[in-house]
């Protein structure tokens, strides 16, 4: 999943965090909360009680008032086919319902349940290839007309269009059985049919997806905006971004791209059809014009006009000290985001696994983390999976201190002299400081390091070229849904390596690992899959060490004193909006 700034793809985070301040070491304001203190209980629930509307009431919540969000960038897309940034996804949940959704209680419990559909999808033949969803009766659009299965199919169909290609492409690729998903079917435009390949609509309330290969993650994929219903008559194509036709509890009252957006109630929304949204506020205001430091200052000040607002921006290091005082610290939401940062080790160039292990021991992760802001910016990582992923298991195959273990490096390398290495980094103040800290620690352990700066907008393109001339480079990855199936296969499946555009930055390709990926993906039982991924996570690090996990990324966001039920969503990494309320 991409973060708030879509501008540079996975590199978004680096830019977003640079914008939020200097690279000065600061531990002020960080809490003692450990990333792993959160218990993951992610599950797909078919329990009728879970899947029935209305949504469970929030303790102490009252109806009414206007809830606000401050965020430093405008939305690029609200069109479900083009929506791939977490802030946009969270905002879109207020106006659009997809087949499934996440229920979260803020205590780490996360369940995938049916949203538009009566449950998170029926695996018809128990082979994960045919998925059936029954649309709830009585779900209405903002004009009072009924939501049908054909509208969901049409929404999926238009997401095949090359002109609306910015969103996630999981379901499309599964239907087309190819990563090049729109090679033959290009959406319902220019004479294309209204039903994508593999989708059937037996009746107005039923939609069936048929895949060539098993995709047991379908309930998760069904939470993406891709399955939001769009009536064909309301499809305004590229203009749809400006006014998505609401099937949720709110609709757009006014929207000025990049400035502000105001939502009001969709009076045709029936809470009894919706197990996910409490919809307490009468409306929402989004303000896109403030910078992260201004947002922090205003929420620290907590002026009456700002009290029902929350931030969708991390508190910059300079404002952190102000957030530790009584009256403010209670209004901070913090915890791990879905992102994990790694040093990819180019296994095409560093073939000796002992050298890769030695590099893992050599890195002073503590110094590297301090160079970007310390504990407020993240927690030291030892695993491939983020603590937000269902089934995450904490482990450390190296058991090295956070500052590195030079003696162990010497022991592993023995008499072999490692070749001189090139460490590449995105040329921003934050990443440069980090690269410098890493270089120092590698050199202290006896490696010869040359650093190479790369234009930040081009960084992921460069390291994504298979024949890139670098040995070590930092990269961040976040899950698209809290399941390791969106982390390990894209990063470590060697069969996906292409000449350019790679996410497998280590260019790691091992047959046993690839076979294990296939085996886990074919397991129909979610708990078995989670256990499988957790074991594979350890196996990759233990046997191959293709990366050095550096840190789990962390969010640290403020809200005003009248913003109720604000907590970080494990599914989206930012605080959600569907169950907040305005304290009276």
């Amino acid at each position: 999943m991409r973060l708030k700034i879509g501008a540079v793809g996975v590199g978004a985070l680096s830019v977003a965090l640079i914008a939020s301040g200097c690279s000065k070491t600061t531990n002020d304001g960080g809490s003692d909360e450990k990333a792993d203190s959160k218990v993951q209980a992610g599950a797909i629930s078919y329990d009728a009680a879970d899947n029935k509307g209305p949504a469970p009431a929030v303790d102490g919540a009252t109806k009414g008032g206007t809830f606000g969000v401050f965020l430093p960038d405008g939305f690029e897309h609200l069109d479900p086919a083009r929506n791939y940034v977490n802030t946009q996804q969270l905002a879109a949940l207020l106006m659009g319902r997809s087949l499934a959704g996440y229920r979260e209680d803020g205590k780490g419990n996360l369940k995938v349940i049916g949203d538009l559909a009566t449950d998170p999808g029926t695996d018809v033949n128990k082979d994960c290839k045919t998925w059936q969803f029954k649309i709830r009766e009585g779900v209405k659009y903002e004009d009072g007309s009924a939501v049908t299965a054909a509208d969901v199919a049409y929404g999926v169909a238009r997401s095949f269009s090359g002109d609306l290609s910015e969103g996630p492409h999981y379901i499309q690729s599964w239907l087309a059985d190819s990563d090049d998903y729109n090679k033959t079917y290009k959406g319902p435009y220019n004479g294309g049919g209204d039903l994508p390949p593999g989708v059937t609509v037996p009746d107005a309330q039923t939609i069936v997806f048929t895949f060539a290969k098993p995709h047991c993650d379908m309930p998760y994929a069904a939470t993406l905006a891709t399955t939001t219903p769009i009536p064909k008559a309301k499809d305004t194509k590229t203009e749809y971004d400006r006014h998505p036709f609401s099937s949720g509890p709110y609709k757009i009252k006014s929207y000025q791209i990049g400035n502000s957006m105001v939502l009001e109630r969709n009076t045709n929304w029936d809470p009894n059809t919706d197990p996910l949204r409490t919809a307490y506020p009468d409306g929402y205001n989004f303000t896109f014009t403030l910078q992260a430091d201004q947002i922090a200052e205003r929420l620290v000040a907590d002026a009456p006009a700002d009290q029902a607002y929350m931030a969708w921006a991390n508190v910059p290091p300079a404002q952190l000290p102000k957030t530790t005082t009584a009256g403010v610290k209670e209004r901070v939401s913090q915890g791990p985001s879905q992102f994990v940062w790694y040093y990819g080790i180019n296994t095409q160039r560093i073939k000796d696994v002992n050298v890769r292990r030695a590099l893992n021991y050599a890195l002073d992760k503590d110094a590297v983390l301090k160079s970007i802001g310390g504990t407020a910016a993240g927690d030291i990582a030892t695993t491939l999976l983020s603590p937000t992923v269902a089934g995450y298991q904490k482990y450390d195959v190296f058991n090295a201190p956070a500052t590195g273990d030079v003696a162990k490096v010497k022991e592993l390398l023995g008499t072999t002299t490692p070749p001189p290495l090139v460490l590449a980094y995105a040329n921003t103040p934050r990443r440069a400081a980090q690269a410098e800290a890493a270089r120092k620690s590698f050199e202290a352990a006896g490696f010869k390091i040359t650093t190479k700066s790369i234009d930040p907008t081009n960084y992921y393109t460069e390291i994504g070229r298979k024949d890139n001339p670098y040995d070590l480079y930092l990269a961040g990855w976040g899950s698209d849904w809290p399941d390791a199936g969106t982390v390990i296969p894209p990063l470590f499946d060697g069969r996906k390596i292409t000449p350019t555009g790679n996410n497998n930055w280590s260019y790691f390709n091992d047959d046993t690992v690839n076979a294990e990926i296939d085996r886990i993906q074919g397991l129909p039982d979610a708990a078995a899959r989670q256990a499988g991924w957790a074991a594979l996570d350890q196996k990759i690090m233990k046997d191959f060490a293709p990366v050095i996990p550096v840190n789990y990324d962390k969010d640290y966001m403020l809200h005003g004193s009248k913003a109720g039920n604000v907590f970080l969503s494990d599914a989206y990494g930012y605080p959600g909006l569907t169950n907040v309320f305005v304290k009276q």
Binding site: R2, G6, A7, V10, A12, H169, Y189, K237, R242, Q291
Partner: protein, 329 residues
């Protein structure tokens, strides 16, 4: 006069043409592709190629430039098949990232920047010039010293410091003023002024410092000129000497500087807009550069150039009005 204006306009057109060509070339000289930047995670090379095709940046630069110019003068159609859109002249294209017509983005952001600059300019001219002139007339008095001292402080401060201090003192800590925001003048003039008061004070105070010092120096120089002595010797009242004779002569260079300052500021008051959270031309252009959003970069660069060129022409014309010795021809 007419000949002068025509000549200057022709020169202006040439300048704008050159700027548009250079911007275009510079944009394509950058080694990163906007399609790659937009595409993000899980992006296959096919998708990058498809996006480049959709944005039209896979065609030769000359052809793209031709399309752009054609759009400005006669409009053009963008997209193909069911996605075709008519973009009437003056068509500046669509934002690569949000698909919004660039003309709409300008319509939304230019009033913000113009409001900031006009209000601030009124403030810095009125405060600066009156302070400077009064100081000159009362040279050596306490007033003069205090005024010059204050203006020295103003001249040494920066927007990002002074603006933040004002925000902290008047908004965040005390809540005396509402947080800066933009309300269209036509909607509510009171709210418009209140929302922009802080940027006006900030820019007005900092720039007035320069104008105070400059106008004081100019006035002092003029007051020592022979024609002022002559006017006094003729027995003209002080008022007439200062306002009719001395002020008019002293103000000429100020007109030049004010015109250029205002013209340059209209191109975008990036730092001011950022500090006060106002979405004006400056911020939009900086974001566009970061996003490699060519249509917006081109439009904002050209618009800033138009402001500066126009300011130059206006200054030249005003010169002739203020100073009768100058003849345009």
């Amino acid at each position: 006069m007419v000949r002068f204006v025509i000549r200057r306009l022709l020169l202006a057109v040439t300048t704008l043409f050159a700027i548009s060509v250079i911007t275009f070339l510079l944009f394509f000289a950058v080694p990163s592709s906007p399609a790659q930047v937009m595409c993000g995670k899980n992006c296959s090379p096919e998708q990058v190629t498809a996006t480049e095709h959709r944005l039209g940046i896979d065609r030769p630069i000359v052809e793209q430039y031709g399309t752009f110019i054609k759009g400005v003068f006669v409009g053009r159609t963008i997209g193909s098949g069911d996605f075709v859109r008519q973009c009437p002249a003056p068509c500046l294209g669509y934002s690569f990232r949000t698909d919004e017509p660039v003309t709409e983005i300008l319509k939304r952001t230019v009033p913000v920047t113009v409001s900031i600059v006009i209000g601030a300019a009124v403030m810095w001219l009125v405060i600066g010039v009156s302070l400077g002139m009064t100081s000159a007339l009362r040279r050596g008095t306490l007033f003069d010293r205090v005024a010059i001292g204050v203006s020295l402080v103003g001249a040494s401060l920066q927007v990002y410091f002074f603006g933040l201090v004002l925000l902290l003192a008047l908004v965040y800590s005390t809540g005396w003023l509402p947080a800066p925001s933009y309300t269209p003048f036509t909607e509510n003039p009171g709210k418009w002024a209140l929302g922009l008061l802080l940027p006006w004070i900030t820019l007005g105070f900092l720039n007035s410092a320069l104008y105070a010092r400059l106008s004081r120096a100019q006035m002092l120089e003029t007051l020592s000129e022979d024609f002022v002595r002559t006017a006094r010797a003729k027995g003209l009242p002080k008022r007439t000497v200062y306002l009719r004779h001395a002020l008019r002569a002293a103000i000429t260079p100020l007109v030049t500087i004010a015109g250029l300052d205002i013209g340059a500021s209209l191109g975008g008051t990036v730092i001011t807009e950022s500090i006060f959270g106002l979405q004006g031309l400056g911020r939009v252009s900086v974001q566009a550069v970061n996003d490699l959003n060519l249509p917006i970069v081109l439009a904002t660069v050209l618009l800033s150039a138009v402001f500066i060129v126009a300011a130059n022409i206006i200054v030249d014309v005003l010169y002739a009005v203020v100073d009768p010795r100058v003849r345009l021809g």
